[in-house]
């Protein structure tokens, strides 16, 4: 009885065995084609038929794209991108975009370095992601920017896009090399640039000051944690004080922004989606927790909100917001602006959908997880925060990204309440004097479709990447 397979598995052998040379699953191109496309007669037939159809479609599409008049997108490029933003203020969206790209590259470069260092310290194999890896992640966005800018009629946009793309790759490298002190706070680097970018658009007062105050409070709180300070008074008062100081200083600086009622185009599409995700998700989590609450008042309130919002078409909600919401606010207040109302509504809308997704995630966490945490004496809050919620959220990443993509596309409904977003310019441009009645809708909507598709496809790729990353070592 010397079966090598049996003697090889013994007591205490880890389940994950790393063989010295993993068997290669890659076939040479010739054999791959044979194995996958022409393995038998009907497979070959299907391949040939599909090839004929594809070639025909490609010829048709390319012929159409070359023959058609793209002048309408050239003339309207700025409209498509930023709507009616005045020309002498255009530096604002440019600065904002470039700052946000810079922050993302620096911050995420730093964060991936920090992760890499932790893995190395713990003896987990990890290599530095290459520039090619980065390109593989961002190619839909990079190509989209190039596609957009190819319609520009002046040089500055080309320079801007070039700076953005080079910055994306170069600053990732810089982020990777940042000193450890900064590197370990990568997320705050990103937040700082994001705020600076938003400040260029919206000024330093109001919303920006509030968000900055919250971020500084979180920063101070994590710093206190790192320093091992646990004195109750300091831990609570420190962040609050820092946040308030930030708020008042920023409000006092009072740099003028550019009122957001004139925002439009792709700019507003992206912004509305970002707001919908960034505010909708936290509210959605709270709603999901509320829905599972033992207190009937909270539970009922959450159920009514969620079911109402989910049960009514978004269009109805949008119309409701433009006719009904103003009645809730004092006359003449800032909150009556169309875009503000739309943002409140989009937050409510995505919160309700995220809430149901998160609730599904919460249900997917086995009861034994809570029991194990309870048995070790952890408080209910800590159990939710550290045990249940992280598992619940990671179980529903695909559904959440799906919701984010749906939201991104649904922002096209903002047109209903008179917000000229990316989608809306497909129609607006066709009503201009030069293009009226020329039937150029196929051109503008192709342009729009590509814009939506590239971003949505990028989001879906990022979701799969995130899933893979989080699945490492789990189950």
């Amino acid at each position: 009885m010397t079966d090598p397979l049996i003697t090889a598995t013994g007591d205490g052998v880890p389940l994950v065995v790393e063989p010295n040379t993993p068997p290669s699953k890659k076939l040479p191109p010739g054999e791959w084609v044979k194995a996958n496309l022409f393995s038998n007669w009907y497979n070959s037939l299907v391949t040939l038929v599909m090839a004929v159809i594809l070639i025909y479609l490609a010829r048709f599409l390319i012929g159409w794209a070359i023959g058609v008049e793209w002048q309408i997108t050239r003339t309207n490029l700025r409209n498509f991108m930023v709507g009616g933003f005045p020309a002498d203020e255009l530096w604002r969206p440019w600065a904002a975009s470039l700052l946000i790209i810079a922050g993302a590259s620096l911050g995420f470069g730093a964060m991936s370095r920090a992760e890499h260092e932790t893995d190395v310290r713990n003896g987990i194999p990890s290599t530095k992601p290459t520039q090619l890896d980065l390109f593989r992640r961002f190619w839909p966005i990079v190509l989209l920017s190039i596609f957009f800018v190819s319609f520009a009629r002046t040089t500055p946009p080309f320079i801007g896009v070039a700076v953005g793309i080079v910055g994306l790759f170069a600053l990732r490298e810089v982020g990777w090399r940042l000193p450890a002190v900064i590197r370990d706070r990568g997320v705050f680097v990103f937040a700082a640039f994001l705020l600076a970018g938003f400040g260029c658009l919206a000024g330093t007062g109001g919303l920006l000051a509030i968000v900055a105050g919250i971020i500084v409070a979180v920063l101070v709180s994590t710093e206190l944690g790192r320093a091992g300070i646990t004195t109750r008074a300091v831990v609570i008062a420190g962040p609050i004080a820092a946040g308030l100081v930030t708020y008042f200083v920023l409000s006092a600086i009072g740099l003028e922004g550019f009122g957001w009622d004139d925002w439009g185009g792709f700019h507003i599409t992206i912004f509305a989606t970002a707001v919908g995700i960034a505010t909708g998700l936290p509210f959605g989590i709270l709603l999901a927790i509320g829905r599972r609450s033992n207190l009937p008042v909270i539970k009922t309130a959450c159920v009514i909100f969620i079911e109402f919002v989910r049960g009514v078409p978004l269009i109805t909600l949008l119309l409701f917001s433009s006719f009904m919401l103003p009645l809730f606010f004092p006359a003449g207040s800032d909150t009556r602006s169309g875009l503000t109302r739309a943002m409140i509504l989009i937050t409510a809308f995505s919160a309700a959908y995220f809430a149901e997704i998160v609730r599904g995630g919460l249900q997917s966490v086995p009861k034994g997880q809570t029991e194990a945490a309870q048995a070790s004496g952890m408080s209910p809050g800590a159990i939710q925060r550290l045990i249940v919620m992280p598992q619940a959220l990671r179980n529903v990443i695909p559904a959440m990204v799906g919701q984010a993509i749906a939201l991104f596309k649904d922002t096209s409904l903002l047109a209903i309440i008179g917000i000229a977003d990316f989608f809306q310019y497909g129609e607006i441009s066709n009503t201009q004097q030069d293009f009226l009645g020329k039937g150029l809708q196929p051109v503008t909507y192709t342009f729009i479709a590509l814009g939506y598709w590239a971003v949505a496809y990028w989001m879906s790729r990022e979701s799969r990447r995130l899933e893979m990353k989080l699945r490492v070592g789990v189950r």
């Binding site: 007591d11 205490g12 880890p14 309870q374 070790s376 550290l386 045990i387 598992q391 070592g473 789990v474």
Partner: protein, 259 residues
């Protein structure tokens, strides 16, 4: 035949000094169904009590009542001088002193092995990170898998996971550990490594209540064996008494089926 009367009194405890767990006249209902009927049981300091009995007899329910994973309906439960009540602070205090090891391990799959172990000491005992990690490594060495510290639960075998679960329970430095069939979900070749870990613990003087079907383990390390059926304590005795000279008919039937 020695004495013909059945000893069903689980209150006389072995071990040293005071009883660390006292259960008095405890009832537990699930709806109309009475899962535990008037349970009286004491566990002494450093005592090892093994609870056996047929499926559905209430063994799990009994030990889950002790750390309030289930709420008892009548009677008293006192752990280390603290009476279990609805007061959340009492419950937390008792849970700090009682570790629990589950049949299905219940490790936290999203945390590395070392984080699984350090989480509760850091959260509940406010232990500094470095100290908690040192403790965790010490415990992992004790359960003989220090090299797995940075892996995730999903990368470990069942036996290794259960040993991590034991280390996780020990990290809170509990006065008692409750085991609910810790080897029932394991492949035969992994049962031994977990039982060995439990034997080491018993020999080091840990107070333990173990629900288990491992009669060899019961015989070797138990100070007392408690046999339950239909929510009642039916027979109590030393392992020798139990395996050589059981009195009650239900005990004999159960043992004949399992041995």
């Amino acid at each position: 035949m020695t004495d013909a009367t059945v000893n069903a009194d689980a209150t006389a405890f072995a071990g040293t000094g005071e009883a660390i767990i006292k259960v008095e006249n405890m009832d537990k209902f699930f709806g109309d169904f009475q899962a535990l009927k008037n349970i009286n049981m004491n566990v002494g300091h450093k005592e090892v009590v093994v609870v056996i009995g047929p499926s559905g007899s209430g063994k799990s329910t009994l030990i889950r009542c002790i750390n309030r994973l289930e709420q008892h309906d009548a009677g008293r439960i006192v752990v280390d001088g603290i009476e279990l009540s609805d007061d959340i602070r009492n419950i937390q205090e008792i849970r700090k002193e009682t570790g629990m090891v589950f049949q299905s391990f219940n490790l936290f799959p999203h945390l590395s092995i070392i984080d699984n172990i350090t989480l509760a000491p850091r959260q509940v005992r406010r232990m500094p990170k470095a100290e908690a990690e040192e403790l965790a490594m010490e415990l992992l060495t004790r359960v003989k898998i220090p090299e797995q510290a940075q892996k995730f639960p999903g990368q470990l075998s069942g036996g290794q996971q259960q040993r991590v679960a034991i280390a996780r329970a020990l990290a809170m430095r509990p006065k008692v550990i409750l085991f609910d069939e810790p080897t029932s979900a394991l492949d035969p070749e992994m049962i031994k490594e977990v039982l060995d870990t439990m034997k080491d613990l018993a020999n080091e003087g840990m107070t333990m209540i173990c629900v288990t079907h491992e009669m060899g383990f019961a015989r070797e390390v138990a100070d007392r064996v408690v046999f339950m059926a239909d929510g009642e304590v039916v027979e109590v005795g030393t392992p020798d008494h139990f395996f050589d000279n059981p009195q009650e008919a239900r005990t004999r039937l159960f043992l004949s089926q399992i041995l």
